[in-house]
């Protein structure tokens, strides 16, 4: 008996050591880093933002903007891949070329884009696939974004399908490649080209020139960018200049290596045993972020507090957002806005209550979409090497005084 219990103890000690050495089971996903300082330096057309890099520019929004349905242009996150972005764009001569397997090549100026085609608008969430990456443990490779590599804007432009119809797709057409004007410093570096299969493109995909009623900000892709509602932003090519139709998929770094997750049920892997088969990140999963109150802020005891935030998914639509004030033991329904901004937009939620206990209080939000998919607890989200698609139940800790 004694011997058996000794063996048991020895085994579990060995087990713990083994877990410790893998470093995965020992460390679980946590809340993304919050409250990073904004920079003292303002980038063109932007307020000072959380700044990870100036070349290429990588800017993050602060949490407070997610109390509102639309993210202001001057606070909207920025993510470029290549360091050399044209410093001068002439809107009179800027031309977008459509070529490849088309009946007629097109060269469309901004003016023609705005006048010769039906103008459409869509309100849609733009989110980096690596948004909230800092949640992953062990630290996943890439910029350690908090929750602010996302935003929602009203985009105006022309349907991609209208442009392709005008050019006339040839029978063999299958893939559409999109290339922007940003370039690498070194001429041999591959361009940031994206390819999408025709089946992935519907009438919601637009070639946009306007964001929240203004020209696109320079750093958000002026003068034209691709808008693919429901999809992560890696395919929303900025400073779009070329649309090329092909019959075969062209092997590209940014398609074949970057922005991919394990191609298995849990989309997960371990640092020691990386998944051999991967797939593109494509559609966004269900997520909510609290915009007010913010992390570590102070709220007044017995005051009428209204928690505000946003929820979204890939366009299935948000069914409900639940709030918990007791570490997720019980959940209460938040009030959603009327949803009139459409299924690709931020759905705002609000939840009123009076904090009656002094001291630290955790507020959690969980969104559930119309398919019944819901946000897991952060600790239940499994690891992937790129730190993509984090969508844990959101948390802010405040102090009631």
């Amino acid at each position: 008996m004694e011997r058996r219990s000794f063996i048991k103890t020895a085994l579990s000690a060995a087990g713990a050591a083994a877990l410790g050495s893998t470093g995965l089971n020992a460390a679980t996903t946590r809340q993304p880093v919050d409250n990073r300082k904004i920079s003292e330096v303002a980038f063109p057309e932007k307020r000072p933002m959380i700044t990870y890099s100036d070349r290429p520019p990588l800017l993050e929004s602060t949490r407070d903007v997610f109390a509102y349905p639309i993210t202001p242009n001057d606070q909207f996150f920025v993510r470029w891949h290549m360091p050399d972005i044209p410093t001068r764009i002439d809107p009179e001569t800027y031309t977008i070329h459509i070529n490849g397997l088309v009946e007629k090549e097109l060269h469309i100026t901004l003016d023609q884009l705005k006048n010769d085609f039906e103008q459409v608008e869509v309100t849609a969430v733009l989110q980096c696939g690596g948004n909230s990456r800092s949640a992953f443990q062990p630290v996943a490779g890439g910029i350690q974004w908090g929750n602010g590599a996302m935003g929602c804007a009203k985009w105006k432009g022309v349907r991609l399908s209208d442009l392709l119809d005008k050019a006339g797709l040839k029978k063999e057409a299958a893939w559409i490649g999109f290339n922007g004007q940003d370039n690498a410093a070194y001429y041999k570096t591959p361009n940031f080209v994206r390819e999408l299969h025709l089946d992935e493109l519907d009438d919601h995909v637009i070639v946009a020139y306007e964001m929240n009623g203004e020209d696109l900000p320079y750093l958000n892709g002026y003068p034209i960018r691709l808008v693919i509602p429901g999809y992560y932003s890696d395919s929303w090519v900025k400073m779009l200049s070329n649309i090329t139709v092909t019959d075969k998929y062209k092997s590209l770094f940014f398609m074949d290596v970057a922005y991919r997750v394990p191609d298995n049920e849990c989309e997960c892997e371990t640092p020691e045993k990386r998944a051999k088969k991967t797939k593109p990140i494509t559609k966004m999963n269900v997520k909510s972020v609290i915009g007010y109150p913010t992390q570590d802020s102070i709220v007044t005891h017995n005051s009428h507090l209204v928690v505000r935030g946003v929820a979204f998914d890939s366009g299935q639509g948000i069914r409900e957002v639940l709030i918990s004030l007791d570490e997720g033991k019980t959940w209460d329904q938040a009030i959603l806005d009327d949803g009139s901004a459409g299924r690709y937009a931020f759905r705002t939620f609000r939840y009123s209550f009076k904090p009656t206990k002094y001291g630290k209080m955790k507020i959690m939000s969980k969104a559930i979409n119309k398919l019944g998919e819901e946000q897991p607890f952060a600790k239940d989200i499994q690891w992937n090497h790129g730190g993509y698609k984090y969508n844990g139940i959101d948390e802010v800790m405040v102090e009631v005084v």
Partner: protein, 109 residues
């Protein structure tokens, strides 16, 4: 005379403000330089010479603390996928060691 001048000036200022954004972008856009607090250490001169050609210090130091293998693979990615083939094998080693020493998590793998 003085007053007319002032009005003129005001009108001019109004005209400048009223210029649409598109015309504003038609001027050269200057993305600011940000001085990221990168750590000094052995091999820094090579990092400065090789890595800064394509991207800022910020891009490097905001990857989080990582293993030696991670940094080695990052440098390899720059050479293989981004075609920075001017980085010699020796320099790749120096860069890897620099990042592991300054921005490492203490783990080899």
């Amino acid at each position: 005379m003085k007053i007319t001048n002032r009005i003129k000036k005001l009108l001019l200022a109004a005209a400048v403000i009223a210029v649409p954004l598109s015309a504003k972008v038609n001027e050269d856009v200057a993305v600011p330089y940000v001085a990221f607090p990168i750590k000094m250490g052995k091999g820094f001169d090579v990092v400065q010479a090789q890595c800064l050609t394509c991207h800022s210090f910020g891009y490097m130091i905001n990857q989080g603390p990582q293993s030696r293998t991670f940094w080695k693979e990052k440098v390899e990615k720059m050479i293989v996928h981004f075609k920075a083939d001017m980085i010699t094998e020796k320099d790749a080693e120096i860069i890897t060691d620099y990042f592991f020493e300054q921005y490492g998590n203490g783990k080899l793998k």
